[in-house]
């Protein structure tokens, strides 16, 4: 069954049609990638899915419930967690604290419990601190837990953002170009992290430019070009799809010329 269903989503910015009638289904438990040249409308589509933007028309269904136009926090609290193309860390906090904040959705307590600190509250705090460090170890940031997040090298900041999103125990995680700015080793490590996240039962929807990574991890791929979905299929189907070749080769030629 589809965990996420994007149905005829259109997003218009004035005269610009950033997403034109896009539909696809992300099966539960899968790794699904959205690819396309720069400016194709991938991030815009993520914004519509995750509630950062309200699509001009169309419908987004998550776990059988329509979520189109809900506030972002409400969508997140259902277990649909996104990361950002431009990293959005809590820069002044430590790496560990960044991840601790990620547990917001799956923990409880407000002002009252913070003041009175009952037993369950202290146990929850301990478990948050412990799990945050486990997650950091999971993405390979175990040694940097006490660093200020801003001081991390860029590639590692992206990994931190992934760890923080995982803290929210997502059912569906949206990763917007997680490999951007990562070197080959880091990208390989990221591919491994994505696989292991998926093995934990998390469905992954990934935007990525790094074709090597996409072909390696994704089970299914949708291709956007100029706001339109021009192809969808398995990595093998996409590799040999004539429209995809045109879109990509055309893009490269134009960039070179």
């Amino acid at each position: 069954m589809a965990l996420l269903s994007v149905q005829n989503v259109t997003m218009r910015f004035g005269g610009l049609l950033a997403n034109d009638n896009i539909s696809f289904d992300v099966p539960e438990g899968s790794i699904f990638a959205v690819i396309g040249p720069n400016g194709a409308g991938k991030t815009t589509l993520f914004n519509s899915i995750a509630g950062s933007l309200k699509p001009t028309s169309g419908k987004v269904v998550f776990d059988g419930q329509p979520i189109t136009g809900l506030p972002q926090a409400a969508i997140a609290s259902r277990g649909l967690i996104r990361t950002y193309q431009l990293v959005q860390l809590f820069k002044d906090l430590t790496v560990a604290e960044n991840v601790e904040i990620g547990f917001h959705r799956v923990t409880r307590g407000g002002v009252g419990s913070a003041l009175l600190r009952p037993r369950w509250f202290r146990e929850q705090e301990e478990s948050i601190a412990r799990k945050a460090r486990e997650l950091l170890a999971f993405v390979g940031l175990g040694d940097q837990a006490d660093m200020i997040a801003d001081k991390l090298p860029y590639g590692r900041q992206r990994l931190l953002e992934v760890a923080r999103a995982l803290a929210a125990e997502p059912r569906l995680i949206l990763l917007d170009e997680p490999a951007a700015g990562l070197n080959t080793q880091e990208t390989a490590a990221l591919a491994d992290v994505i696989h292991r996240v998926n093995e934990r039962g998390v469905t992954v929807l990934l935007i990525e430019h790094d074709m090597g990574l996409v072909m390696k991890v994704a089970q299914r791929i949708a291709v956007l070009d100029f706001g339109k979905k021009i192809a969808e299929g398995t990595p093998d189907e996409i590799r040999s799809h004539p429209d995809v070749l045109t879109a990509y080769l055309g893009g490269v030629e134009m960039a070179d010329g």
């Binding site: 002044d92 604290e97 601790e100 547990f103 959705r105 002002v111 412990r130």
Partner: protein
């Protein structure tokens, strides 16, 4: 392997040395106050009151990273509420303080609910307007506030008819309020609630993406700041015995901002540290006569240059220094 050990040292550092050092410093200052002349007592009393005010403002401006230029409105509400209820209607000061705070909280909710959905400078303008409107009301509504004349004859704080008649007795209570305020602030910051505020300060899009109700948490931080502000206003009224519109004017905003940035905005102890320094510095420089203001400004600017995160900003650096040492040893 090493991570549980590191976690526990971190917690104990925060819980013990991290909180007890400033507590001891505050109590030492109280000791100085109690063995000094009347004037120092007054100055320290103001420092404690401003400490309460700034610690509250820090919830909204520091922890949550928002700007409010109108928090003096809530000090005015607290001050006039307490003055009118006690001097005007003979109410028990503590009861009056609680009622004034409740009213302030209600007004903060009513004002904050619509305005906190605004972003950036709209919010700042809305809060600024709130401060100005309250100021105008205290001037114009003379039948209630006695206008420019001010409200006098406010009794000292006390409970069940037992009044704290001397300034030194009152200083003890004011310092207790300041410490309680910081204690609450510290507890709230180190919780899911405090982390949600820090998330908003760090990145609203990221906070929302993790399920944090951004507008809701901003509102709660604003209301907490209002409650602190109102209590500070009530304490001021009882400490001085007289209030006028000027007391809660825009200068209060400037002063509290100085305290926040000087002491360390977003840190737990910074606001109180800033309040003490901003209150005591002019007294320390009194001997310089007409150069006093110049020296005051030079010192403020120097601190901001050499400690851009405020004086309490040194704490994490020291902490990190120790952490690094510990980490190096562990490896």
């Amino acid at each position: 392997m090493t991570s549980p050990a590191i976690t526990s040292t971190r917690a104990s550092w925060r819980d013990h040395a991290g909180s007890w050092l400033p507590v001891l410093a505050t109590l030492a200052l109280l000791g100085v106050g109690l063995s000094s002349s009347g004037y120092i007592v007054t100055v320290l009393g103001f420092a404690a009151i401003y400490g309460v005010f700034s610690t509250g403002l820090n919830f909204f401006m520091g922890y949550t990273g928002q700007a409010s230029f109108g928090q003096n409105a809530f000090a005015a509400l607290g001050g006039y509420g307490s003055a009118i209820l006690t001097a005007g209607h003979g109410m028990e000061p503590v009861l009056a303080l609680l009622i004034a705070t409740t009213v302030s909280v209600a007004i903060a909710f009513a004002v904050g609910y619509p305005t906190l959905r605004l972003r950036g400078h709209y919010l700042a303008m809305a809060t600024f307007a709130l401060g100005l409107i309250t100021y105008e009301i205290t001037i114009e509504w003379t039948s209630l506030t006695q206008g420019y004349m001010g409200y006098s004859g406010i009794p000292p704080i006390g409970l069940f008819g037992y009044e704290l008649v001397t300034e030194k007795q009152m200083l003890v209570v004011l310092v207790a309020f300041a410490l309680l305020g910081v204690w609450i602030s510290n507890r709230l910051r180190r919780s899911r609630f405090g982390r949600a505020l820090a998330a908003i300060a760090g990145s609203e899009p990221a906070a929302a993406a993790l399920g944090v109700n951004v507008a809701g948490y901003k509102l709660v931080a604003f209301v907490i700041a209002a409650a602190y502000g109102s209590v500070a206003g009530s304490l001021f009224a009882h400490f001085v015995g007289f209030i006028s519109p000027e007391v809660f004017g825009t200068s209060m905003v400037v002063l509290s901002f100085t305290m926040l940035y000087l002491g360390g905005i977003g840190t737990t102890w910074g606001p109180l540290v800033g309040a003490v320094i901003v209150s005591l510095l002019p007294e320390a420089l009194r001997g310089l006569k007409e150069l006093q203001d110049v020296a005051y400004c030079v010192i403020l600017v120097a601190i901001l240059i050499f400690a851009p995160r405020g004086l309490a900003g040194f704490a994490p650096a020291i902490k990190q220094f120790f952490n690094r040492g510990a980490a190096a040893k562990a490896e």
